[in-house]
Symmetry: C2
Subunit: 393 residues, 2 copies
């Protein structure tokens, strides 16, 4: 066995693979091709910023998974995955961004060599990193295969976290608390946004509580005032202003496990309308947390949250939470459950959810969020940080 320092016991990878195969069997798949870097990492340990070229993991119903990617990244696989070298396959560099040949043509040869080309092959049809051209190559080169949409079959296996995964998220929670503490300490009128981001990113990587930070699957978002009506603006070089509110959507990350947390800061005395929004948001969040018990559904949590929000006269037309854990850019969400009406996923102990109420007003946006662990005693927030509109005068 290769001498690789893995983030989890080998038995945990074996368990993940076994559970995935049960789901494959139930769905009638013989072979999975996974291009989602989070799913690749979860099943094999692979870690590297190489998802800008075609790569993936093949999982058949027996044997170890097969890592496949660019030749130079096969070295990274050798240093991060649990499998032997025989199951790490690199393609030559002349496939990279070539107009003459597609890397997936090479993958098809691998599939043929392993005798899998008449299989029912499930692919992640709607994943970033599984392009329309990648699928076209499979269809052309494997005429005897049957293709199915794997959807989020592996993402759904990831939804209940193991104790070791929860430990990593706890470490990430310490990091995001430190990031918010740094923000509150440093932010002031006249400070340029990018200069505050410098402090945020420093804290994010430096880490907290003796544990280092990894790169987050999102960058910091910190829109102020009217800009905050647009939730996914990042930052610029403009200064913070007095009498303006800013939300900070930040995430701590440790060994690729995320703990997001959002808070909103008012520089100067907040307007009454912002205090009203704060009250509605916090009480709705609290109502949702009360309902986030194992056995209840996401729908139940959403009803508790949205009914409370509406009782304060506010409306919100977007979901208010999603599953989180292991991730790579561009999304820290797991793309499984959503906290919205109609999502009948039953909450189980070990699920980790970013519960993120946000309100976009005419002149501002507010976010106050918690990442929670579902336990058999209810929802447990990972962070311990004042759950309110923070005011700095």
């Amino acid at each position: 066995m290769p001498d690789v320092e893995l983030n989890f016991e080998r038995s945990e990878y074996a368990d993940r693979i076994a559970r995935t195969r049960v789901a494959m069997d139930k769905a009638g798949y013989d072979l999975l091709f996974l291009a989602d870097p989070s799913n690749m990492s979860w099943l094999t340990g692979y870690d590297g910023w190489s998802f800008y070229v075609h790569q993936g993991v093949l999982l058949a119903m027996d044997g170890d998974p097969v890592w496949w990617g660019r030749g130079m990244d096969a070295n990274g696989a050798l240093r991060t995955v649990f499998m032997d070298a025989a199951d790490i396959i690199g393609y030559p560099d002349h496939y990279v961004q070539s107009t003459e040949r597609h890397p997936m043509d090479h993958l098809c040869d691998v599939i043929k060599q392993r005798g899998w080309d008449k299989h029912t092959i499930a692919v992640e049809m709607d994943n970033y990193y599984f392009t329309a051209a990648a699928f076209a190559s499979l269809q052309t080169n494997l005429p005897n295969a049957t293709f199915k949409d794997a959807g989020g079959i592996v993402n759904w296996q990831r939804i209940v976290k193991s104790p070791q995964e929860i430990e990593y998220i706890r470490r990430a929670a310490r990091i995001v608390e430190a990031m918010h503490a740094k923000v509150f300490e440093r932010v002031e009128p006249g400070m340029k946004k990018n200069e505050l981001v410098a402090d945020i990113l420093h804290t994010a990587a430096f880490g907290a509580d003796g544990h280092g930070g990894d790169y987050c699957a999102f960058v910091p978002m910190l829109p102020s005032g009217v800009d905050a009506t647009a939730p996914h603006l990042t930052w610029d070089e403009r200064p913070f202003n007095n009498n303006e509110i800013t939300f900070f959507e930040l995430g701590g990350c440790h060994r690729r496990y995320h703990c997001p947390m959002s808070r909103t800061i008012s520089l100067g005395t907040p307007k009454q309308t912002h205090l009203d929004a704060e009250k509605a948001m916090v009480e709705s969040l609290n109502a949702g947390l009360e309902a986030a018990n194992a056995g209840n559904t996401c729908h139940d949590v959403a009803v508790a949250f949205f009914d409370t929000l509406n009782s304060f006269g506010f409306e919100k037309d977007s979901r208010t939470g999603y599953s989180i854990g292991l991730s790579y850019p561009p999304d820290w969400g797991e793309r499984t459950l959503s906290l919205r009406k109609g999502d009948m996923t039953v909450l189980e102990p070990g699920m980790c959810i970013h519960f993120i109420p946000s309100l976009w007003l005419d002149d501002a946006g507010l976010e106050i969020s918690e990442t929670i662990l579902i336990t058999d005693k209810g929802a447990e927030p990972f962070c311990n940080y004042p759950r309110k509109l923070l005011v700095k005068d």
Copy 2:
């Protein structure tokens, strides 16, 4: 016209659109759908970390481009693009990560409403963010359209940079110089990698020379020793060691424009084999730079580089450079020209290339790179930083 602070004059966007339409006409396309966030931004100004949901820009042969994306991100579009609100279209949140409906179904309705559903529609078949499922939705919902692979049609329009774009890359160059200077100042045996990354990211966002930093499309890569045989490992919490070399592949970013630069640092006296590799690399890079004249091809540069490298007894099986500029994660490359044999792209003044020699030895990896501007007087490096293996005792 909306009151939006754009990064470029409106006339520059108009020129970009006009050039793209010439290429569309030549290729026989009536309509482009662009999911690449870099292409979206280059044509419209759009900027936001929203590419983790389906979104895109439609460009027909007349009228303004149409921004299409998630409802909440339409607010971000209103604040970053040059078009009027009538050409900014958001889809409802129940399309987001739903198993019942696909956001592209909504786009198809937009295409029908505009009377474009019998058009020859070109899509970026091999782009991240254009998934196999996205294409399937188009094919199903627009049975009267003809689909073509747009390839890198817009990327190729981006390849010669305007004076304003070059100015932004120059600012990014000052930032990446400051990042490397910080690394050399701080790195020492025993320092944890993530703690050095904290300093790197701080400098990256703080900026230099009075200009702030934006997030880079790559995260810092800084593998040491044997780990550096794997080029895309990022960082961990292990310490730097004496008598070990580390390469630092870093990029400055300003208003989404990148200037990458790699350097290698030896802690303690370098081995002779590493000095030999350094000499081969720098001389090969210099030979390539000499050949990087307007009118020559990428192939010519590659021949000059690889022939020199081989004359020193070294082999490298991967390309040694690519076009850079505006970008979003996961890749700072523009995905057009590559510095490799057989790439017959003719160099023109205004092209910007990350010329990145790298050597993976048995016990280490080295990178010493330059981002260059092609001028009518030859290749001009954006950075002014010692082009050698840096030694810190």
